[in-house]
Symmetry: C2
Subunit: 354 residues, 2 copies
């Protein structure tokens, strides 16, 4: 029996960095004698070009039958003026929904060696290490109605949650906090939104089940401030889909290591999808200079969350850290005394370190 | 004939700083021979205590009959566990709606003298000077339905906009950009929300009417990143209510001068409401140490926007800058070589400088 991994390269640098992850996984396979089986399918812009849809059925089927999915990135200027249902990001939203990937986990941690690249003052960013748990299949993203009204003179979107949807993401966040520093910050807008009030009630109900975890509630506007002024105050942040979209992107630039940040999107008992926090970066696509580390660390997350291979995951993470500590970096990170390398060399360095 | 100004002190430090603004306006009145007439009404927590509602009718009536309104801040722990309709912020939301204050203008500009207090690296924050134009009476804040469903097992909020509501805020933003650096960034989530698609269409339609203004569209998640990594790229940002809530608070901490930031909330042809960007700060309330400058600069905005008194407004702004340049600061701003003063002294210094 082998672990079936579906690769969804997607567009732009997505298609470049995904093979970095594959190389690294093959090195892990050899070292730990684990059988991985890879197959590739189209999603996003390339799928529109090849199949006339951003999410072909065969891609969905393959993902459903896989043990885990690695995604590069989707999108690019070529498809920017397409009608809604022929846009690359529809593929991403579609696969999230099709696989019921309700929990998006985005760790944000600075690498000591790279903190100089942070836009924040050193004394503020130093020591920050947080995890954003974002609800990924509900809220404004999928609520109906979402439509024009009154002959196009009005428009509506719907922020809809069921109690079940909120409960499962809150549980996931508490469980994540138990494995980390046992501090959960729930972010909502309970002074305005009915959905946030229910969200807050459910957090309060669940507290008793996780007595080790300290809980606080922060309003989304205050959270957006605090991420910048006091990032070290956070451990695990849990929030609904749209707030999570904004806050996780905000958080992703704090450490100066956007090209290093992985993410995991998990289903209740099924497959997980792993992708870098960065996008398809059309401006540098095709040059072979993209930073593959976010993708490589996403593969490490896959090993840990989907395959329960903690040592293997740790081996990748240690290898990455070792290579960075030797001063190697890709072009996204400016450095005076570092050694500038391209995607392929960076990947080889990590493979060697494994 | 005199200018009728309604003061809504509200709660916490709101009730302390509002009298600072009044003192400053009285100094302006003397210097420029302008007759101001003040009256005070309750809003927020104090109104709940005194009248059993966060927004008494007489407060609404007084504001409707005023030439302009100055608001301190609302809220405090005393009322935090009240039912929704007896919470201080209902007063704020209610007055916005009652006066149709659709346009919230939040300038964010660092004072040279205070940039060391910024959480950002000096080279990143230096030179930033932006204005957030937030739609304030539509979207998720007021859309119906906003309710529990299925016996409390589901919940819904509604993001609703009419074309008219979007048009007037976009016009206001273009006009604001024409008076500044002629660069408008419209922030939306057009890759997901139908309301954002209409928003983007309307910006595109309006462009022709403002040929001097350069326009770009940025997705809200990208905007949350860019505010931190490239704050100087922005001039005027326009966005819908909830995105504006998050982004304007995020932006407010960038320069390290939250206690200095004013805001204006404007109706189409009516009264304007002016308030500091900061809240009621219950932790320091009653100590007489609050920074009155955001409130004082809000009064300056009132002179400029509601009374068309540009010289008078400029006189206040110059006085504030002069006092800061002499090294005076309140306790919210740490400084090694500065002169620490309390609310009252700071106000007197500004009055003297006028
Ligand atoms: C591409 C877009 C639809 C997507 C989202 O908003 O969820 C992206 O921003 C993300 O965060 O993965
Ligand atoms: C108090 C709250 C309802 C309000 C809002 O969300 O609009 C506040 O955060 C603001 O920005 O003025």
């Amino acid at each position: 029996m082998s672990y079936k991994i579906v690769l969804l390269p997607g567009d732009g640098i997505g298609a470049e960095v995904i093979y970095a992850a594959k190389d690294v996984l093959e090195a892990i396979s050899k070292k730990f004698n684990k059988p991985f089986e890879f197959s590739s399918f189209d999603i996003g812009g390339i799928a529109i070009d090849n199949h006339g849809t951003p999410l072909p059925n065969e891609t969905v089927e393959a993902c459903k039958n896989a043990d885990a999915v690695l995604l590069g990135a989707v999108g690019g200027p070529k498809w920017d003026n397409n009608p809604s249902d022929l846009r690359p990001e529809r593929g991403l939203l579609g696969i999230r929904k099709a696989l019921d990937l309700y929990a998006n986990l985005r760790p944000v941690k600075g690498f000591e060696k790279l903190l100089h690249a942070s836009p924040l003052r050193q004394d503020i960013i130093q020591g920050s290490d947080l995890l954003i748990v974002r609800e990924l299949t509900g809220g404004l993203y999928f609520g109906e109605p979402s439509e024009r009204r009154e002959n196009g003179n009005a428009v509506v979107d719907t922020l809809l949650y069921t109690r079940k949807e909120i409960e499962r993401i809150i549980d996931k966040a508490f469980q994540s906090a138990e494995l980390r520093n046992k501090h959960l910050t729930s972010v909502d807008k309970a002074n305005v939104l009915e959905s946030s009030k229910l969200w807050r009630e459910i957090v309060e109900e669940k507290k008793a089940q996780y007595p080790d975890v300290a809980v606080d509630h922060v309003l989304v506007d205050a959270a957006a401030m605090k991420l910048i002024t006091n990032p070290t105050d956070f451990d695990v942040i849990v929030t609904e889909n749209m707030f999570g979209d904004i806050l996780s992107d905000e958080a992703s630039v704090l450490t100066g290591s956007l090209g290093m940040l992985p993410s995991a999107s998990l289903a209740e008992d099924g497959v997980g999808l792993y992708e870098p926090a960065h996008g398809s970066a059309p401006d540098i696509a095709g040059k072979g200079i993209a930073n593959p580390i976010a993708m490589i660390l996403s593969a490490a997350m896959m090993l840990r969350y989907s395959f329960n291979m903690n040592d293997e995951a740790q081996t990748i993470e240690d290898a990455v850290e070792a290579v960075l500590n030797q001063g190697y970096h890709t072009a996204d990170l400016k450095s005076d005394d570092g050694k500038l390398v391209k995607t392929k060399e960076m990947t080889e360095l990590v493979v060697k370190a494994i």
